[in-house]
C-alpha cells in the first residue's frame, strides 16, 4: 500500500525533468542537442569578437545573419536552395562514417556527378524531358558513386587511407572537369567561361510550385530519410554499424566487410553526385567551373555537426545553408569579405570537434545510476 502511494505521489507531483529515470533515458539525446548547440553559440560569439576586431558591430552582424538567412520569405528560399546540395554532400561523409571511415571527397563526387549527368543529358538530347531527367539522375548517381567507391575500394583492398585519397580525388576531379569543359566537351559558343553545351531549358527540373526553391530540396530530403531508414532500420544498416563499431567482430560473425564498404561508399558518392546533377539541372543548366562552389567541403562540416546522423543532417544543412545565404548581405551591408562565411564555418567546425570532449561529462545530465 505504502509503495503504491509513494509511486502515485511521484507520478503526479514531480515534473519529468527532475525524475532521474527521465534523465537516464533521455540524457544522451539531450546531450546530442545541447552540446552542438552550445558549440554553435560559442562559435558565433567568437566570430562576433572577430568581426568586432575588424571594426564592425557584432549585433549588426547577428541581425544581418538572421535577416539574410531566415528573415524574409526570399531569404528562406535562398537558404533552402543552398541547403539542398548540402544535405546530399553531407550524406557523402555521414554514410561512410557509419563504417568508421572519414570520407572528405564529396566535392569531387559532386563534380564528377555533374559531369556525368551533363554527359547523360547531352547523349539523350531530343528525348522527352522526363527521360532526359531520369538519365541525368542515373548518370549523376553512378558517376559520383563510382568516384567515392574508388576511395572505398582502395581502402579495403590496398589499405590506402580513405581520407587522403578522397581529398586527392577532389583535385583530380577538378582537373578532369576543367579538361573536359575546355576540351572535348566544350561548347564552341562559350567564349569567356568555358562550359559544356546547355542541357536545354525544357529539361531543367524547375521549382517546387509556389516557391523559387528547386526540386533538389525534395531529392535531398528523400535521400536523407532513406539513408536514415537504411542505417537504423534495415539489417544492412545494422551490419554496417556493427562493422563500424568493431571490424574484427564483424568479420567473425561472417559479414562481408568489403561489400559493405563498397556499397556504402557507392551510395555516399551517389548522393554527392546527385547534388552535382541538381546543380546542373536546376541552377547552372550546364557544366562549368562554377560548380566547384565548395558545397562538398561545407557538407563535411554539416555531417560532423549532425554527428553523422542522416536525419539531423536536414536541420543542420538548413542552418549552414542559411549562414552561406546571409554571406551576400554581410558583404553588402557590413562590407565584410565574402570569405567571412568560410571563417565562421571553420570556427564552428573547431568548436564542434572540441565539444566532443564534453559528452558524458555534464553533471546534471548524468542522472543517477
Amino acid at each position: 500500500m505504502t509503495t503504491d502511494a509513494a509511486d502515485s505521489v511521484d507520478a503526479v507531483g514531480v515534473a519529468p525533468a527532475a525524475d532521474p529515470g527521465f534523465l537516464q533515458r533521455y540524457g544522451a539525446s539531450i546531450e546530442y542537442i545541447l552540446i552542438p548547440g552550445a558549440a554553435l553559440v560559442g562559435a558565433l560569439a567568437v566570430f562576433g569578437g572577430f568581426v568586432a576586431i575588424y571594426g564592425k558591430n557584432p549585433l549588426d552582424l547577428y541581425f544581418y545573419m538572421y535577416y539574410g538567412a531566415f528573415g524574409t520569405w526570399f531569404s528562406w528560399q535562398n537558404t533552402l536552395t543552398r541547403a539542398a546540395p548540402l544535405i546530399l554532400t553531407a550524406l557523402c561523409t555521414a554514410l561512410p562514417a557509419q563504417l568508421g571511415m572519414v570520407i572528405i571527397g564529396g566535392e569531387g563526387a559532386l563534380l564528377i556527378g555533374a559531369l556525368s549527368a551533363t554527359a547523360a543529358a547531352l547523349a539523350v538530347q531530343g528525348a522527352a524531358p522526363v527521360i532526359v531527367q531520369v538519365a541525368m539522375v542515373i548518370g549523376g548517381v553512378i558517376g559520383g558513386g563510382l568516384w567515392i567507391m574508388l576511395a572505398g575500394g582502395l581502402r579495403q583492398y590496398r589499405g590506402v587511407n580513405e581520407t587522403i585519397s578522397s581529398l586527392l580525388l577532389v583535385y583530380i576531379a577538378l582537373a578532369i572537369l576543367n579538361h573536359l569543359v575546355e576540351g572535348p566537351m566544350r561548347d564552341p559558343a562559350s567564349l569567356n567561361k568555358p562550359s559544356t553545351r546547355e542541357i536545354g531549358a525544357a529539361n531543367m527540373i524547375g521549382s517546387i510550385p509556389g516557391t523559387d526553391v528547386h526540386w533538389g530540396l525534395v531529392f535531398g530530403l528523400v535521400a536523407a530519410v532513406a539513408a536514415y531508414i537504411l542505417i537504423y532500420h534495415t539489417t544492412f544498416g545494422f551490419a554496417a554499424r556493427v562493422a563500424g563499431g568493431n571490424i574484427r567482430a564483424a568479420k567473425i560473425v561472417g559479414l562481408s566487410v568489403g561489400r559493405l564498404i563498397l556499397t556504402i561508399c557507392f551510395l555516399a558518392g551517389g548522393c554527392a553526385g546527385l547534388a552535382g546533377m541538381i546543380e546542373v539541372a536546376a541552377v547552372q543548366g550546364r557544366t562549368n567551373a562554377n560548380l566547384a562552389a565548395g558545397y562538398g567541403f561545407t557538407g563535411i562540416l554539416v555531417a560532423f555537426l549532425a554527428r553523422q546522423n542522416p536525419l539531423a543532417i536536414i536541420p543542420v544543412a538548413i542552418l549552414l545553408g542559411g549562414i552561406s545565404a546571409s554571406g551576400g548581405l554581410l558583404q553588402r551591408r557590413l562590407g565584410l569579405p565574402d570569405a567571412s562565411v568560410l571563417v565562421l564555418q571553420g570556427i564552428i567546425f573547431v568548436f564542434v570537434l572540441a565539444s566532443d570532449a564534453l559528452y558524458g561529462r555534464i553533471g546534471f545530465l548524468k542522472g543517477k545510476s
Binding site: Q156, R158, I164, L167, I176, F304, D356
Partner: protein, 308 residues
C-alpha cells in the same frame, strides 16, 4: 646552337628547374608533417597552414618591406595553428584527423578573409641565387636561379634525419610516436611532446607557404595553393616518415607538377589541366603501390591513427 634555341631540351630543363622551384613548399610541409607524425599525431590541417603562411608572409613583407620578416611571420602563424591543433587534440575523445579537416577549412577561410586587401599590392620578394652565371642559355640560367628557402629546406632534411637518430629530442618524439605509454613511463608528458612537435611542424609548413607568395608564383591570391598541403601529407606516408626520403619525394613531386607548364611552354597545350593534376595522380598511384591491407607500413609510428 648559335641562336640560343635548345629545342626539345626545354622540357627536361624546365622540369628540372620546376622541380626545384615547385618542390620547396612540398619539402617544408612534408618535413613539418614528418615531425608531427613521428610524435604520433597527424595534422591534416597543414593545407590551411600553408595558405595562412602564404598570406601572412605576403602581408608582413608588404608592410615591412623585408621578405625575411614575412617568412618569420609565416612560421609563427603556422606554429600558432599547430598549437591550436594540438590543443584541441589533447582534449579527450577528439579525433586528430577531424580536427585537421576543420583547421584546413578554418585556415583557408581566415587567409582569404584577412588577405582580401593584399591581392592588389606587390610585396618585396625573396631573393634567388644565380648558379647559372657561366651559361649563355637563358633557359638553363632560369632553371639554375635557385631560391634560398629551397637550400634551407635541403639543409633541414639531413639535419632532421640526424636529429631523429641521435638527439634526445628525436628519441623523445619517436618514443611518443611509437608508444605513448613508454613515454609516460619515462616521466614525460606525451601531450606536451606532441604539442611541440605539432608547433614545429606548423612552423615549417608556414614557411612553405611563405615560399608560395614570396617566390613562386610570388603573389597572393586565393588560388595560390590547390592541395599542395594535403599532397605533402600523403607524401610523408610514401616517404616512410624518413626526412631524407621526404626530400627526394618532394623533388619528384615538384618535377611532376612542373610538367604541365613545361609542356605548355613548348606548345603542347592539350591536356594542360590533366598534367597539372599529375602530382595528385602520382600521389594516389604511389599510395596504391606502397600501401597494403595486410600489414602496417614499415616505419610507421605505431601511435598514428592513420595507420592503425
Amino acid at each position: 646552337m648559335a641562336d640560343g634555341s635548345i629545342g626539345l631540351w626545354t622540357v627536361p630543363l624546365a622540369v628540372f628547374g620546376g622541380a626545384i622551384r615547385v618542390s620547396t613548399p612540398f619539402l617544408f610541409v612534408s618535413l613539418g608533417e614528418c615531425i608531427t607524425e613521428r610524435s604520433g599525431r597527424i595534422n591534416l590541417g597543414l593545407e590551411g597552414t600553408l595558405v595562412m603562411g602564404a598570406m601572412s608572409a605576403y602581408g608582413i613583407s608588404y608592410l615591412s618591406g623585408s621578405p625575411w620578416l614575412g617568412v618569420l611571420a609565416a612560421g609563427i602563424t603556422g606554429a600558432l595553428l599547430g598549437a591550436l591543433h594540438a590543443g584541441i587534440c589533447s582534449l579527450p575523445r577528439v579525433n586528430d584527423i577531424a580536427v585537421g579537416i576543420a583547421l584546413m577549412l578554418f585556415g583557408t577561410g581566415l587567409a582569404f578573409f584577412l588577405g582580401k586587401p593584399l591581392i592588389e599590392p606587390t610585396a618585396a620578394r625573396l631573393p634567388a641565387i644565380d648558379f647559372g652565371w657561366w651559361s649563355d642559355v637563358p633557359q638553363l640560367r632560369a632553371a639554375l636561379r635557385i631560391n634560398v628557402l629551397f637550400l634551407v629546406g635541403v639543409a633541414i632534411a639531413p639535419l632532421l634525419y640526424w636529429a631523429f637518430r641521435t638527439t634526445r629530442w628525436g628519441l623523445l618524439i619517436r618514443t611518443a610516436g611509437e608508444s605513448a605509454d613508454a613515454a609516460r613511463a619515462m616521466g614525460h608528458s606525451v601531450l606536451l611532446i606532441r604539442l611541440r612537435a605539432t608547433m614545429v611542424g606548423g612552423f615549417l609548413a608556414g614557411i612553405g607557404g611563405s615560399f608560395l607568395s614570396l617566390f613562386y608564383p610570388g603573389s597572393w591570391n586565393e588560388g595560390l595553393s590547390s592541395g599542395q598541403g594535403i599532397t605533402a601529407v600523403a607524401l610523408v606516408i610514401f616517404a616512410r616518415w624518413d626526412p631524407m626520403l621526404c626530400l627526394w619525394a618532394s623533388l619528384a613531386f615538384g618535377g611532376a607538377a612542373a610538367l604541365g607548364p613545361a609542356l605548355q611552354s613548348v606548345g603542347v597545350t592539350s591536356g594542360y589541366h590533366l598534367f597539372n593534376a599529375a602530382p595528385y595522380i602520382l600521389t594516389l598511384a604511389i599510395m596504391i603501390i606502397t600501401c597494403s591491407p595486410k600489414r602496417t607500413l614499415t616505419g610507421a609510428p605505431a601511435e598514428l591513427s592513420i595507420t592503425r
